[in-house]
């Protein structure tokens, strides 16, 4: 059964081997498979300016094996939409706030692209948002993924029009965190309950989240 491990600076010492494998697979997926020149590195580890101490990684694992992942960065600090892809949010602007996090580098390894791992990852990111008081995620997503997110019950608001990036249509979007989205993604993957593993972490992990009262 695939589980989503939450890895932050607070517990990364428990995940050194996993993280190395995660960054290597990211390089395989984004530099080699997708051919993104900007993320190519000689050490074959995809680590960039947004893999920081305040970055939270959601790593999908089957036992010890990394099968997928994505990372979350607070929008109150420099993030990909603010620094690189601001043009994509030309119509609605870049969503910024303490309860809005940006998701990026979403991937599932090639052998697991039949839908089930995706559903687990989508359920996981919604579960994490619900548990942590996150209200929205912002993200740059490939446009052909939009109906897939809809199918998983995600409420997605576009921030601009589709734009061609690295030969792929992409849009900037804001995704609501909703229990109903979490549950719909779970149903899609045939998942009974929580998919998150918080090894060595307190709940909630995000301490400074400003809860709306």
């Amino acid at each position: 059964m695939t589980a989503i491990h939450i890895v932050s600076s607070a517990n990364r010492h428990l995940y050194e081997t996993t993280l190395d494998s995660y960054f290597r697979i990211r390089h395989d997926v984004f530099a080699k498979e997708r051919g993104w020149k900007a993320v190519e590195r000689s050490d074959e580890r995809d680590i960039d300016a947004f893999d920081r101490d305040d970055t939270i990684h959601l790593i999908a694992m089957d036992g010890d094996r990394v099968v997928g992942g994505q990372r979350l960065v607070p929008t109150t600090t420099p993030h990909m939409l603010s620094e690189i892809f601001a043009d994509l949010a030309a119509v609605k602007g870049i969503p910024v706030g303490p309860t809005i996090w940006e998701a990026s580098r979403y991937f599932v390894v090639r052998e697991r692209r039949s839908g089930r791992t995706d559903a687990t990852m989508l359920a996981g990111v919604q579960e994490f948002g619900v548990d942590e008081g996150i209200t929205h995620y912002s993200a740059v997503i490939e446009t052909w993924w939009l109906p897939r997110l809809h199918e998983a019950g995600f409420v997605v608001r576009p921030l601009g029009l589709p734009t061609l990036i690295e030969n792929q249509w992409a849009i900037a979007a804001e995704v609501e965190v909703r229990q109903s989205s979490r549950d719909r993604a779970r149903a899609l993957g045939g998942i009974g309950g929580s998919v998150l593993v918080r090894r060595g972490l307190k709940v909630p992990l995000i301490g400074e989240v400003a809860h709306v009262t």
Partner: protein, 245 residues
């Protein structure tokens, strides 16, 4: 951003925002006619793509096609020959109908469907492929005689098509269906292999489960689908597009 680009974006975003307020598929179609009409579109179809066991007409979620053309299209089983449908299955990016390749000599039926469509004022159009997470394939296709298709308008049309599809899909999905009746992905997997002619023992081997567990999944799926037996469950799952072997 120049003035015209802003207008396209504005049309697309007000279209999407308005969609949420519409509660009937017909209202969505009227809304599409009005907004997409600005780009020259007159005809619309939002449809799932049938597998060999499914009937094309049962996959249609909504359509506004010229009188007579849908009937001909179904009667002639053009869905099997249509190069637009073929490219739709194999592409993740939207495309103009004229970009769907076919061989005139070797595929006379493909040539025929494109020609006959043109007779119904559907000379060109724009197709937006939909690929679900668990195998569902669908197509949003707009046609017309004089289209404003350019690198500036296409992104707006692309986005509008995807949101129109989602709204129609939401409105057409029976809300009263109990969530506990949803098939799990394991149950779908077992039904899919059954549909492909595999026995319980063979499926057990493929999925690395015990035969008993596989049988248990079949029984549970049949119960959820209110089916009499395994075969009946497969038929119902195919009809309801829950599996896509």
């Amino acid at each position: 951003m120049n003035r015209q680009e802003f207008d396209h974006a504005h049309v697309a975003f007000s279209f999407i925002e308005r969609l949420e307020t519409l509660e009937a598929p017909d209202d969505v179609m009227n809304h599409m006619e009005k907004s997409l009409g600005l780009f020259g579109f007159e005809n619309f179809i939002l449809t799932g793509l049938p597998n060999p066991h499914q009937r094309a007409e049962q996959m249609v979620l909504a359509r506004k096609w010229p009188r007579g053309w849908f009937e001909i299209y179904i009667k002639e089983n053009y869905v099997a020959a249509d190069p637009v449908v073929r490219l739709c299955r194999n592409s993740i990016n939207p495309f103009e109908w004229s970009e769907a390749p076919y061989n005139r000599e070797k595929e006379p039926r493909a040539h025929e469907v494109m020609n006959r469509a043109a007779d119904f004022r559907m000379a060109n159009g724009f197709c937006i492929p939909i690929h679900g997470l668990t195998g569902y394939e669908a197509c949003v296709s707009f046609g017309g005689d004089k289209l404003d298709l350019s690198s500036r308008t296409k992104p707006a049309i692309h986005l509008m098509g995807m949101y129109a599809f989602e709204r129609i899909r939401q409105l057409m999905t029976p809300a009263q269906r109990n969530r506990s009746d949803d098939l799990t992905s394991r149950e779908r997997e077992v039904l899919t292999w059954t549909a492909l002619g595999k026995t319980s023992s063979e499926i057990a081997e493929i999925l690395e489960l015990s035969k008993r567990t596989v049988d248990e999944y079949s029984i549970r799926a049949a119960r959820k689908l209110r089916a009499q037996n395994k075969t009946h469950a497969v038929v119902k799952a195919l009809q309801q597009r829950l599996i896509n072997p």
